[in-house]
Symmetry: C2
Subunit: 608 residues, 2 copies
């Protein structure tokens, strides 16, 4: 295989924190400041950020996807959420920085308890939302101290070999895949602006930028984003401000009637011009940097913080996007099924990394693969119980008989984004493994089979995924499902299936369905398919109802299913799903894999 | 029966709106005002209000438990929620007042769309919470008009024969039923005040007043409230300000070490004194009148709007209250079972009102009955489909063969409050009735059997009650369950089982479990038991779990249950519940009723 892979397994942690933090403190001291906040964020609040925005990793060694460091004169903390309470202390120099669990103390609370009256805490207004700044400000003011934005990031001042701005190719997302012209999308956006009484929208979320203008980029890993901003005035031409200069001629031509394309550097002045004369400018409360609010207000405009209307539009997929998703899932199903059949033949020969590499290769062979949609979670035995495990050369281990192996992976195809988790038995599984697997599968089926009235939120159905676990005194500590983009982010809002999923589910939304169970130190189980919300007609019913079509196509490990714990309806669902997988994928599989799939998808009645 | 009954069936609507509204408009005009807001509220935001606070009913004729009239110079509206969209137009003079569904327009929005710049809308600050005033204010200011509190209610000025203040007997709630001394309760309340940094609490909710001081009153129908206020300073003696002067000597003696007892008229000055010197006074955001906020601020204090800490304390019942509830439910179960057996023998002889009267009599015969906990909903045929139906002499009808009969009723016993709904077949039910009944029953069992982790909210389990209906394209438009007091309100917060139930369920809380199905114009089905949240130990489980003990004891109509639609677990639940009802109530029933119950609770296997 000569193709360079999308995933690496080096642990980038370095524990160089002491020297770098010392340098940062000198800079602080020289500027008359008493502290600086370093969030894991770029100026778009994206999940994946370009290398030049990895300030938190550079400064502390911590490589998690969320966290905030606060460096004061005599103390420093790294506040991380439950996913990273083990990883953070392993990656940072704890003699210099104290790891703090978010469940105990927020960064704002930590700062509030430590700053003294008269001190000044600095922050980079491009890396915090107005809400985030307000939280910090309340804590700092309560301590009698002051919060102050800086003109340029203080980490950059000491980061000698900081990478340059990303410059990935920016290309058009083809009309047959996008399914709606940028012209039509802009008309809808402008109608929403009129409705909200705003003169213009700042698109600060690169996902929304990509959707609105039917473009895709390559500025960050695993998500086809072109970093930058757009200004959409209610009347007049839109304008794009792209970080990368590598814009394809085709895209430039396509954009010409809709929007001017400028370099990112021209953005602030254009925003100021637009905000003049008390114009009301909608800023996305979720992703707009505080610096944008400062800029709008300095120019005499009104910063109207609210939802970017694109977020809700993008969540509902159109027929072309849905067709693309079906194609992507078919291709992905072939790759995953080939992988599962191959895995089954390897016995104890494999390591977690070897599995990741093989799966990526199977995906590449199917064509249209642009990237993985996130680094594969490949966890055998106890590693499977670490919900956000990412294998490195140091943690890699052989997959042994008597263990469970959990693989959570996804792909970015030109026509769609996938995300699938399978958990398989290697050798003979224990009784407990089978019981727990079956409970997780029953929860998965509870979502897959759910029928619910229009107007129902994800929160209202979340417990259907948990009930079989609750009955056994068990649960899992993550949401049941997240939204998924159309060749965009694998984690897309606003819809969720979770206790916190207050957004109404609408036909055309795509979500994951991924209940799990994690026995610390022993094994992890997660079973994930993507599902499409679709209208349902129920004979004799009175109300407009919705349900899910499962998009993902790959077998569940029947060796782990206890048929005696299933209801007849659940058993029928598994058999129907497996029959569908067999019929859909069979024609595109080699003979050996097809034979394996035939056996793997035998009806459950054969087991009962 | 010489006992006066707790329920009457007269329709108090009168359609005298025209003359009364004309009189009110003259008063408005004389005062230079352009409108007045008349909510269905007393100064405690209680569900049941004393006759003197029934201003909305007096002015408009509308007798529902919620609604707001706005009287402007040239227009008047009565805004009501979905429960009252049929009842309101039937009770009011629509030539004078326009009924407006809340789902379409709030009172604030209605006013905002109609007031002109420079006009003044008046309101009584004792009948609105600060949040409610803020909503009105935003709408009025947007219209360029002004919102102005009045010193005395303008309806009172034209209501010549307005009843006097309530003067029910105020007595002690015995220690063996209360289960915790007022001394201990006040210590807990003061600890909560210290935690919140408040100098004092204003108890504005008479339910919380009754709980905190272990007293019960008789100032309103169906709930044993003594209207009034209490002031609980963090240090020093508490003070009660009771509307009724009829305080029993025993209660006075019991209160002496804890609190001074004053007439209601002394309250405002005492509040002003307490609020002096910038004292932070906690006002209950849910029930405190805006007038209290004005008073605190006028006295130089800080009005700290937040939850009254008593609300959460009161929701968790102590062992004595739970024992009381069990006793009350046993007694209530005997009465309801006698009623059901009697009803079964009546054939088509009964009317809805006769059924209500008989049920109340059965309850009275069991002893300790203090009141019904709300007016019985007694709906046969199409009347059963009206969720909040209240039978009057005009709507009363015979219960006919081939119909369903829905009875939702409850009692106030000295030791506990009950609430139960049963739906029974008269004659031969249709196939559809049986299918729908079975789906509602399956939803009821879904809640009754639910096991869930500590920390779960009512919202997270609400859908368990709906799933069997959703599967058939059906649903019901009310919550699944509300909290219930201990010889207090039958509708008690903050816990709920509903989409909006964001409060965590805790062991010791009592809630209703009452899914339903309503076929407009044909029949209604609701099946309601009260349940107690209790800890659950699940063998092999890993997390602290909770479940429900069903408190209510009365059979479900087996003639309406389709055994073929039940899972084995659901059938086992019905049989176990019926066996429990039989064993618990049998010894206290007369021979004929016992024989009826034996037959009514035969195991479902006999039906399958």
């Amino acid at each position: 295989m000569t193709r360079p892979r999308f995933q690496t397994f080096d642990d980038p942690s370095h524990r160089q924190g002491a020297a770098r933090i010392r340098a940062l403190r000198e800079t602080l001291h020289a500027a008359g400041l008493d502290g600086f906040v370093v969030p894991r964020a770029d100026e778009h609040q994206s999940e994946y950020v370009p290398p030049q925005a990895e300030r938190l990793a550079w400064l502390t060694g911590f490589t998690g996807s969320a966290g905030t460091a606060v460096i004061l004169r005599d103390a420093a903390a790294l506040v991380v959420d439950g996913r990273y309470t083990l990883q953070a202390p392993a990656q940072i120099d704890t003699a210099v920085i104290t790891p703090v669990p978010l469940a105990e103390t927020s960064a704002a609370a930590w700062v509030g308890a430590r700053m003294k009256a008269g001190e000044v805490l600095a922050y980079d207004p491009w890396l915090h939302t107005p809400d985030g700044v307000a939280r910090l400000e309340r804590a700092v003011v309560k301590a009698g101290a002051t919060l102050r934005p800086v003109a340029s990031n203080l980490v950059d001042a000491v980061w000698a070999d900081r990478p340059g701005a990303p410059s990935g190719a920016v290309v058009a997302h083809p009309p047959d895949l996008a399914g709606e012209s940028a012209t039509d999308k802009l008309a809808r956006i402008r109608a929403a602006l009129a409705e909200a009484g705003c003169a213009a929208l700042v698109i600060s979320d690169p996902h929304n930028l990509a959707w609105a203008f039917n473009l895709r980029g390559a500025d960050v890993a695993h998500t086809p984003l072109a970093l930058g901003y757009a200004l959409v005035p209610r009347e007049g031409r839109a304008a794009l401000f792209l970080t990368s200069g590598d814009v394809s001629p085709e895209l430039r031509t396509a954009l010409t009637p809709l929007a001017a394309v400028h370099p990112r550097a021209a953005f602030e002045d254009a925003l100021s011009a637009l905000a003049a004369d008390a114009a009301r400018i909608r800023l996305d409360a979720g992703t707009a940097a505080f610096a944008l609010k400062l800029r709008v207000e300095a120019a005499g405009g009104v910063a109207d913080l609210g939802p970017d209307p694109i977020t809700a539009m993008k969540a509902v997929k159109n027929p072309a996007e849905i067709a693309g998703a079906r194609g992507a899932h078919h291709r992905d199903g072939v790759a995953v099924t080939r992988f599962l059949a191959w895995l089954d033949a390897q016995g104890e020969a494999l390591t977690e990394i070897a599995a990741v590499e093989a799966l990526e290769d199977f995906r590449a062979e199917g064509g249209l693969l642009r990237d993985v949609s996130f680094p594969t979670i490949s966890g055998s035995g106890a590693n499977g119980a670490i919900v956000h495990y990412r294998v490195t050369r140091e943690t890699d281990r052989r997959i042994r008989a008597g263990e469970l192996f959990l693989v959570d992976s996804g792909a970015q195809y030109a026509d769609g984004t996938t995300d699938i988790t399978r958990t398989v038995a290697v050798g003979q599984p224990s009784e407990a493994m089978c019981e727990h697997f079956t409970r997780v599968l029953r929860g998965h089926i509870g979502i897959a089979r759910a029928v619910f009235p229009k107007g129902t939120t994800g929160a209202q159905i979340d417990s259907f995924a948990r009930q079989p676990l609750w009955d056994a005194g068990l649960d899992f500590d993550h949401g049941t499902g997240h939204g998924v983009g159309a060749f965009l982010s694998v984690h897309e809002g606003p819809q969720r299936i979770a206790k916190t999923g207050t957004v109404i589910l609408e036909a055309g939304m795509i979500l994951s369905n991924e209940p799990g169970y994690y026995r610390t130190g022993a094994y992890g189980i997660r079973l994930e398919n993507l599902v499409l919300v679709e209208p349902r007609t129920v004979p004799g019913g009175e109300r407009p109802m919705l349900g899910f079509e499962t998009l993902t196509l790959a077998p569940f490990d029947r060796r782990l299913i206890r048929a005696d714990l299933l209801t007849p309806e659940e058993m029928a669902w598994i058999d129907a799903y497996h029959a569908r997988v067999r019929a859909a994928l069979g024609p595109d599989l080699d003979a050996a894999t097809r034979a394996w799939l035939e056996k793997a998808t035998l009806p459950m009645v054969a087991l009962a």
